[in-house]
């Protein structure tokens, strides 16, 4: 793939559309299979439940998609969700103002993301090490801040962000749709988005074409942090409580959603829309395991297998397209 061409002229998206199309077929097949084995699957409640869960996962994974498009990685998103949710929750509880709590949650997520971006772009620390270190720093700060306590009971207006409905459809699904549109437009129709693809496809060519690499890298990590902040608010609103460990199990599924969605770890290939389909596939699998009354202890194992399988698939298709 030529990054210079990616910068100078518009990319051809037909390949990406095809990739998303294949995955949509997988979604349909999964739905059909689940509908066959479980009567509970095709109930309205369960479908809404799947959508609501996929919405949360997508919001977290959408920012991560941009990071992975630059051939980076953000391992701190789960820890970031926990800290943002706990800060937002305690501030909301203390001041009684949902607006202030929301601002604190978004601000915290964005700041952690900006710190990641600085470590990666300006200080040249390999992304997985920088964000892995950040994971544990944020994790520690969260536990210290919460000191084992739980904060719960938020205003109804705020809670509707996670558990409310409008025209019979959960509010998170609207938020998901909004950010799907924004994310897709940003990545595919703006110069900045194109530059993000170019950095991942070929950093040297991107630099020679005049892409301000450091600024764009800081941007993608900051956006990833901001999306983690947003996801934390929806999570908080749905659970109506927050404690130190709430985000821990979210990082692996978020990365899985991005990779299943067809975004390549090696950068430059993938779409935000694909990540939504990835989030749907993962949610359907986990939902199916739930419906079949499989022990929830199997979930990390299955997610791990899916991550590896998704990357293997990516490697195979890349090898074939190169040959």
């Amino acid at each position: 793939m030529s990054a210079v061409a990616g910068v100078v002229q518009r990319r051809d998206w037909s390949g990406d559309l095809k990739a998303v199309g294949y995955r949509l077929i997988a979604v349909a097949a999964l739905c059909a299979a689940l509908a066959l084995v479980s009567d509970a699957f095709l109930t309205w409640n369960n479908v809404l439940n799947v959508l609501r869960q996929a919405a949360l996962l997508f919001l977290l994974a959408s920012g991560l998609t941009l990071v992975i498009l630059t051939a980076g990685l953000d391992l701190s998103v789960g820890a970031n969700v926990a800290l943002s949710a706990c800060l937002a929750g305690t501030v909301m509880k203390a001041t009684g103002s949902p607006l202030l709590g929301t601002a604190v949650g978004l601000g915290c997520g964005t700041l952690v993301g900006a710190a990641n971006g600085t470590l990666v772009a300006s200080l040249r620390i390999p992304p997985f090490i920088a964000t892995y270190g950040m994971l544990w720093v944020v994790h520690g700060v969260t536990y210290w801040y919460m000191a084992g306590s739980t904060v719960h009971g938020f205003p109804a207006g705020f809670r509707s962000l996670g558990s409310g409905y409008w025209l019979g459809i959960p509010i998170p699904v609207y938020i998901m749709s909004l950010f799907l549109a924004i994310g897709a437009l940003f990545a595919q129709r703006t110069t900045w988005g194109q530059e993000i693809y170019a950095i991942g496809a070929n950093p040297v060519a991107a630099r020679l074409s005049g892409v301000p690499i450091n600024r764009r890298l800081i941007l993608v990590y900051t956006l990833s942090g901001a999306m983690a902040g947003l996801a934390s608010l929806i999570f908080l609103a749905r659970l109506n409580s927050a404690e130190g460990d709430i985000g821990e199990s979210l990082t692996l599924p978020a990365i899985a959603a991005v990779l299943i969605g067809g975004t390549s770890l090696f950068g430059g290939v993938g779409t935000v829309g694909g990540t939504l389909v990835g989030a749907l596939i993962l949610t359907l699998v986990l939902n199916g395991m739930n419906l079949l009354a499989l022990n929830p202890n199997w979930q990390p194992l299955v997610t791990g297998v899916i991550v590896i399988a998704a990357v293997c698939l990516d490697m195979l298709t890349r090898r074939r397209s190169r040959a």
């Binding site: 994971l135 544990w136 720093v137 210290w144 692996l252 990357v311």
Partner: protein, 333 residues
């Protein structure tokens, strides 16, 4: 990323023998020693002044014993990082190995059989990590992130999220026992270090480990099956997890499904503090020992000061990012 390595590698392919014949055998990086040694000395001094009881011989022995398990992860982690790899699954593999060891001991009553099961499981995970890295070409941090999830899930499934208790003295001796008046874990740690040192600095395997990170192309052009050695490094990491599982199970005298989750971070931290670089196969095995002691002293001192465990981990994280920054500034100069 913005890694200039591909160019350097491409340039070095012209001189294929350079990375192989001039192996950096036992090359001490003197310029790096002060970093971790000063940190360790500074921490010891701080805690000697601030934390009552830190300098008690019993407490210091405790630091050593508690550091054993970390050392058994950090040394193979050093080798893995030298190949420009990483193993995020170590904590989870150690956990599942410990659980399987405990279950086998409870089931059969034989500690030897338990250790064999733990070693086999560790080696199997190491092999999967290595095979997916070397033969499929997936970046190791994603492979091991996936196997981390698998190992974590397996530990929960095997135990049904309960502890497996009732370890016989043949197991607990490995943490609580004494050999010629010295606590067994200390003996284990010293032997483990000596074996790893010999492997890294006095065998062909060790030479290739350095070359795998420094110049894998040269290794391949020299006709070495680099892929086999890369798989071997990860299998070694898995085996070390199996062995460490014995000490861990002995220490808790139980197999617990979340016992060592996240311990790989402390191991990576110790390696980074010890001055091993994440790029280009630069590193120093004894530095990792000092790194392990630094992490151990930090945890112990903060413990004596009454700090929560999670805060200790955050402190380690800050220390590591600081060390990476210093390393970064140095290499720029």
């Amino acid at each position: 990323m913005l890694d200039p390595a591909p160019f350097e590698r491409a340039a070095a392919v012209g001189l294929p023998a350079a990375g192989v014949t001039h192996a950096p055998a036992a090359r001490f990086e003197w310029s790096r020693i002060p970093g971790v040694a000063y940190t360790l000395a500074g921490l010891c001094l701080t805690f000697a002044l601030a934390a009552k009881g830190f300098l008690d011989p019993a407490n210091l022995a405790n630091v050593g014993m508690q550091s054993t398990i970390l050392l058994m992860l950090a040394l193979p982690m050093t080798l893995i990082i030298l190949t420009e790899g990483i193993d995020l699954s170590m904590g989870a593999v150690l956990t599942v190995a410990s659980v399987v060891l405990a279950a086998t001991v409870v089931g059969t009553g034989s500690a030897t059989l338990g250790l064999c099961a733990a070693l086999a499981l560790g080696a199997a995970f190491g092999f999967v990590n290595g095979a997916l890295t070397a033969w499929v070409g997936i970046p190791p941090f994603v492979v091991t992130l996936g196997t981390m999830g698998i190992a974590q899930g397996l530990a929960l499934i095997v135990t049904d999220a309960q502890s497996i208790v009732g370890m016989p003295v043949t197991v607990t001796w490995w943490y609580g026992g004494f050999l010629a008046g010295i606590p067994v874990p200390i003996v284990v740690a010293v032997l483990f270090y000596l074996a790893t040192h010999a492997l890294l600095y006095h065998t062909r395997f060790g030479t290739y480990v350095f070359a795998l990170g420094g110049n894998p192309e040269a290794l391949r052009l020299a006709g070495v099956r680099a892929d086999l050695y890369l798989v071997g490094v990860y299998v070694l990491g898995g085996l070390a997890c199996g062995l460490a599982a014995l000490v861990l199970t002995a220490r808790m005298s139980a197999g617990h499904p979340t016992a060592a989750i996240g311990l790989e971070f402390e191991a990576i931290a110790a390696v980074a503090l010890g001055g091993t670089s994440f790029e280009k196969g630069n590193g120093w095995l004894f530095g990792s020992v000092l790194g392990v002691l630094t992490v151990g002293v930090l945890r112990n001192g903060l413990n004596l000061l009454g700090t929560q465990s999670a805060v200790q981990v955050a402190a380690i994280g800050v220390l590591v990012i600081g060390a990476l920054l210093v390393d970064n500034l140095r290499s720029r100069r």
